[in-house]
């Protein structure tokens, strides 16, 4: 399977991955290199806006099809079910308390939009075709996993302890989750992209399209810095069994994505992207929601897993694996 090795090494030498590695190394060496919080937020606004606009524009060009609707449905169902898989796996292999299992499960059912972006660039670079509506699938996969996770937590705490009431999904929480800034921006930019047409798109293209990969590099440098800092401090808090979960869970998720993509009849790139969505874990919308809903869950475990292990895993060797697997179909 030479092609996989080629694919993997091309990916590893891409500027995106290298800047991520630079960030991790700098953080592990305790360099003073850092990206100000305001700038990191600006970069994520840019990236989310760009991906939303481009996705909406592509869907508008292609029109709403049955396959789009099926893919959205599949995304919602996967996002609901993957946390159950993650929760079960954690119960089988680790000694984490139920509330931590539920919180981690919610992270893994949801998605990492930056992993998705990186995969889109690799897939486009390789010339594989992918459905334009995959951005919409990404958007619908953000939230259901949070609800699954909360249900898991409520269920377990109902059995075991008295503070069950604290876990209930209240209205306020639901609103906060659905109206998380990154979700509103992604959906909003998608809708805008769907209506502005070619003229509107070409007006914003010099900002939104051309410098996109360069901005992604700076953002990945920042992700690397944050991930490295998390690894440095969170390392001691996770057991080998938990660590292992951060490496095999993406593969389980990707497997589910592979099957679903096959069933949906997606193009090679589309299957790979659905695998990436299933394999990736959220570290923007879900952590904030979990701090609100499950204050007893230890945030540093889930963040170390999602950002310190699974994100680098997907970015470096996960994406090539998923593309290779998708191209088998």
């Amino acid at each position: 399977m030479t092609s996989f090795i080629e694919l993997a090494s091309a990916n590893l030498l891409s500027p995106m991955v290298l800047f991520f590695v630079l960030g991790v190394v700098a953080a592990l060496l305790r360099s003073s290199l850092s990206v100000p919080e305001a700038v990191a937020k600006a970069l994520s606004i840019y990236l989310i806006m760009a991906i939303g606009l481009k996705g909406g524009h592509e869907v508008a060009l292609a029109g709403i099809s049955a396959s789009l609707v099926y893919a959205l449905l599949a995304g919602v169902i996967l996002s609901f079910l993957l946390p159950l898989l993650a929760y079960g796996a954690l119960r089988a292999t680790t000694k984490l308390p139920a509330v931590d299992r539920a919180s981690i499960a919610a992270h893994y059912g949801s998605i990492s939009i930056v992993t998705f972006l990186a995969a889109v660039e690799v897939i486009r670079g390789l010339g594989y075709g992918a459905e334009g509506y995959m951005v919409a699938v990404a958007a619908v996969m953000e939230v259901p996993a949070i609800l699954s996770g909360l249900w898991l937590a409520a269920r377990s705490s109902g059995h075991s302890d008295a503070t069950a009431g604290a876990v209930g999904v209240d209205r306020t929480l639901l609103r906060e989750v659905m109206l998380n800034g990154s979700i509103v921006l992604l959906v909003g930019a998608f809708l805008i992209g769907a209506v502005i047409g070619d003229k509107g798109m070409s007006a914003v293209a010099p900002l939104i399209v051309d410098p996109f990969k360069g901005v992604l590099c700076i953002f990945l440098l920042d992700m690397g810095l944050v991930a490295g800092r998390g690894l440095r401090d969170g390392w001691r808090k996770i057991t080998p069994a938990v660590l292992l979960f951060g490496l095999y869970m993406p593969l389980l998720g990707a497997g589910a994505g592979w099957l679903s993509g096959f069933a949906l009849g997606l193009q090679t790139g589309g299957v790979a992207l659905l695998m990436v969505l299933c394999a990736s874990a959220s570290y923007i919308a879900v952590p904030a929601a979990m701090r609100l809903a499950l204050p007893d869950a230890n945030p540093s475990i889930s963040l170390t897993l999602a950002l310190g292990l699974t994100f680098p895993f997907n970015l470096t060797i996960g994406i090539p694996i998923y593309i290779a697997a998708a191209s088998l179909i």
Binding site: G234, P295, S300
Partner: protein, 103 residues
């Protein structure tokens, strides 16, 4: 100049919880508060730094609230009840102010 004794409550709390805390203060009839950013910290839960964070999770803010000594005890209790499981701390100090009725 005539001054009046007030209490200064300082709450350091994780950012995702901020809105709920402020809603709570509003409900308790607090007249005012000011939120100050924090950039790094350490506690029993380990240390954190704001640099490069995109999500609100993992970031702390500080809420300063000057209030009447007669309200302080009730507010401390109810705030503490709200927060108990959260990452954060509350402290209470003495200050003097000029405009008695403002707080």
């Amino acid at each position: 100049m005539k001054t009046y004794a007030k209490k200064r409550m300082e709450i350091i709390i994780e950012a995702p919880f901020l809105n709920r805390l402020l809603d709570h203060l509003d409900q308790q009839g607090v007249h005012g508060y000011t939120v100050v950013p924090a950039i790094a910290g350490k506690g029993h839960g380990g240390n954190w730094s704001r640099d490069g964070l995109v999500s609100d999770a993992g970031r702390l803010v500080m809420v300063i609230c000057i209030l009447d000594p007669s309200d302080a005890s009730t507010l401390l209790e109810s705030t503490y009840a709200q927060m108990s499981n959260r990452i954060g701390i509350v402290s209470l100090g003495d200050v003097e102010v000029v405009r008695n009725d403002h707080f």
